[in-house]
């Protein structure tokens, strides 16, 4: 059974995503969660959870931030509210949140998500023993490693199959600092649409922006496992995440719809990677090339 998880930027987009057949929605607030398409209010999250449940689908809320004291002070109240409104699960990366969950004794399950750090079955098993019902794999793993991990853990391994991947988070306002230094008056938020390129590779284009959690840099290509989805299923990788953090509105919904169609095609044995690949390229923004990231590499290629 393949599960397709997609980020949602609004109540309306959430409804559209449910309509096209997304199994699980992923939303949150910037104060507690990292790199979301939009920071939603609790009222919006409540509306989305009700919509999801109408469709008999799930809602996961991001509580995967790196929490400082003032964040963790607010966590118990937030978790209680998420539990009250019927959220199905949360993602967590900070052990302080897990400790809080245990103390509150809520029925709110958590999926372990410490981003770049989640790289082995033993690591995930540590958190499964402490209550995790799933884990989000680091984006820097190979398919060989992902298969290995999934085969050695007792919970679903969430694997990003579409979208940009975060490759750097600093608490510092790195770009604002640069603009102050060079006396430029420029915005540094996501809407500003800034990119970096490497000194020796001017073709690269790493998106960079600042928000209340600091500075975030993304991969030069959007990850896409579209051509390899059938292979993923054969290897047991069936929990797919689509990340729309840099892609707004209807276009993301249409891409999500395409992945849902791909899932259905695989389940009915009618999957043709070339057809789906062509359709994805038609929908993909021109300034965001697609690539397989680390997935096709050998485990020893990056050390």
């Amino acid at each position: 059974m393949i599960e397709v998880i997609a980020t949602a930027e609004s109540v309306n987009q959430a409804k559209a995503l449910l309509t096209v057949g997304i199994d699980t929605l992923y939303v949150g607030q910037d104060q507690f969660g990292l790199r979301l398409p939009k920071s939603l209010t609790l009222d919006e999250i409540e509306e989305i959870v009700q919509e999801a449940h109408k469709f008999q689908k799930r809602l996961i809320v991001a509580v995967n931030g790196l929490m400082h004291n003032h964040h963790i002070d607010d966590v118990p109240d937030y978790l209680s509210k998420l539990d009250q409104i019927g959220v199905d699960a949360i993602t967590v990366g900070d052990p302080g949140v897990i400790m809080t969950l245990q103390e509150l004794n809520l029925s709110l399950p958590f999926i372990y998500d410490a981003q770049t750090m989640v790289t082995s079955a033993d690591h995930i098993s540590f958190w499964v023993k402490r209550g995790a019902i799933g884990a989000v794999a680091a984006r820097e793993l190979t398919l060989i490693e992902l298969e290995n991990i999934q085969n050695n853990i007792s919970v679903p391994l969430e694997v990003q199959v579409y979208g940009p991947t975060c490759i750097h988070q600093s608490k510092r306002p790195l770009v604002s600092n640069y603009f102050r230094y060079s006396q430029k008056n420029e915005a540094t938020n996501r809407e500003r649409g800034l990119f970096l390129s490497e000194p020796k590779d001017p073709e690269t284009q790493y998106p960079i922006y600042e928000d209340q959690n600091g500075t975030h840099i993304y991969s030069t290509e959007d990850l896409s496992l579209m051509p390899y989805l059938d292979r993923c299923v054969q290897k047991g990788i069936t929990t797919w995440k689509l990340d729309g953090v840099l892609l707004q509105g209807d276009r993301f919904v249409r891409i999500a719809q395409l992945f849902v169609s791909a899932k259905q095609a695989i389940e009915s044995g009618a999957y043709s990677s070339a057809t789906f690949e062509t359709k994805l390229h038609e929908l993909q923004p021109t300034n965001r090339p697609l690539g397989a990231g680390f997935y096709l590499k050998q485990p020893g290629d990056v050390q």
């Binding site: 082995s120 690591h123 970096l196």
Partner: protein
């Protein structure tokens, strides 16, 4: 005479056995080293078990501790053999291991019970609840994320009694530790497995794109390019804050650094902390300490996140605004008080007529102009050009073995 303060541990980096001994001779209460595996400094001179045993014996004779950093973020297969590795560390007398990966923590706890575990800064522990979690798991100490400020540390100290370690000096990741894979993407080297290529210190173009994906650079001709390079951390001006906050261990970064660097930095903090703790009320900061640190500084120095979020002044875009003025020239291996002759092992070319400075533990300094040099056979020579060559020079003030000699660049 004021009330004496509890002294925090000074924890120094030791890239090899020589650095370990120097760090302890210059006042470190503990050192951290790397083993052959499971560490994050694959290119630092790491220790095999024999070298560790020699280091442990040396340290324990002087009431100092030795920790092993095993802070790799393991992939499938990387943790193989780590149980035996941890058991061996425990059995040869290592005082603690510094780990970030929960897989390794679990292995260490089950395979080598009794070996204390410290959570590495690589795990970015930033709140009191997280420290409580790790305490409950049986960890003895948590190394805080570098992003935690002084007020936050005070609150953490009030709310938990697990040992706290914090960085007070050295180079810093500009990201949250562990949350950066620039190196993986740009150099095919895994930042979390010891391969970091320091991509943050590169120079980047910064641009936006129009509707047809044409790039427009925001960096004009003559502008410094964008970079993410952090200046280094130095808390020497803030010793009273650091000590009164109740941090148990003060960590100095730099397993790749030279004995010149390690000895200088440890020497300064030893002096400052001893001075403060012996009489907090009458303590004053001595600017000479900071001057001393500048002699081996690699970059500008600032207070990191302790008092504010770092600004453009703590990020390097242009050429470094200050560079180290001294270079390591020799180590004293013997001294004859009757002839006032010091025997030196050369570490950098120096010659007759050059102004040098000898220094030793306790922040002792002697300025000296080299008047004559004799080689091992007693022949007078103008310069000492060969690495590790043994020479004799006459000195005006007594020196001791393990004093070091630096010269102006």
């Amino acid at each position: 005479m004021g009330v004496k303060m509890k002294k925090p541990e000074i924890l120094a980096p030791a890239g090899n056995l020589e650095k370990l001994k120097i760090a302890i001779r210059y006042g470190a209460d503990a050192v951290y080293i790397g083993g052959q595996d499971y560490g994050l400094r694959s290119r630092a001179g790491n220790f095999d078990f024999d070298q560790m045993q020699e280091g442990i014996a040396f340290a324990h004779d002087r009431d100092a501790k030795v920790y092993v950093a095993a802070n790799m973020v393991t992939h499938e297969g990387d943790s193989k053999g780590s149980g035996e590795f941890f058991r061996t560390l425990r059995d040869i007398g290592i005082d603690a291991v510094i780990v970030s990966d929960p897989a390794l923590i679990a292995i260490c706890m089950s395979e080598a019970p009794g070996l204390p575990v410290h959570l590495s800064t690589q795990s970015s522990a930033t709140n009191y609840k997280t420290l409580e979690f790790w305490k409950k798991e049986g960890l003895e100490r948590v190394v805080l994320a570098r992003e935690v400020n002084m007020e936050e540390i005070r609150e953490i100290r009030r709310k938990t009694d697990v040992e706290i370690e914090a960085f007070i000096h050295g180079a810093m990741c500009i990201s949250y530790s562990g949350r950066c894979v620039l190196s993986n993407h740009m150099s095919n080297r895994d930042a979390n497995r010891g391969g970091c290529a320091q991509s943050c210190r590169w120079k980047y173009d910064l641009f936006d794109m129009d509707d047809v994906a044409t790039k427009h650079s925001l960096i004009k001709e003559g502008d410094d390019p964008f970079s993410m390079s952090a200046v280094d951390l130095a808390m020497i001006r803030h010793i009273p804050d650091i000590v009164s906050t109740g941090i148990d261990s003060l960590k100095i970064e730099g397993r790749m650094k030279s004995i010149h660097y390690v000895s200088t930095v440890v020497n300064v903090y030893r002096k400052a902390i001893d001075t403060y703790c012996s009489d907090p009320e009458n303590y004053t900061f001595d600017p000479a300490w900071e001057e001393e640190l500048w002699k081996t500084a690699q970059r500008e120095l600032a207070s990191g996140f302790y008092y504010h979020i770092p600004t453009e002044n703590e990020q390097i875009f242009a050429k470094p605004r200050k560079i180290p003025q001294y270079t390591f020239a020799a180590q004293v291996i013997d001294y004859d008080p009757s002839t006032k002759m010091a025997t030196l092992q050369q570490r950098n070319n120096f010659g007759v007529g050059e102004a040098v400075e000898f220094y030793g533990p306790g922040l002792i300094h002697h300025k000296q102009v080299i008047e004559a040099i004799w080689d091992e056979n007693g022949n007078a020579i103008d310069r000492a050009p060969n690495a590790m060559m043994i020479v004799k020079v006459k000195v005006d003030h007594p020196v001791d073995p393990y004093y070091l000699m630096r010269k102006k660049r």
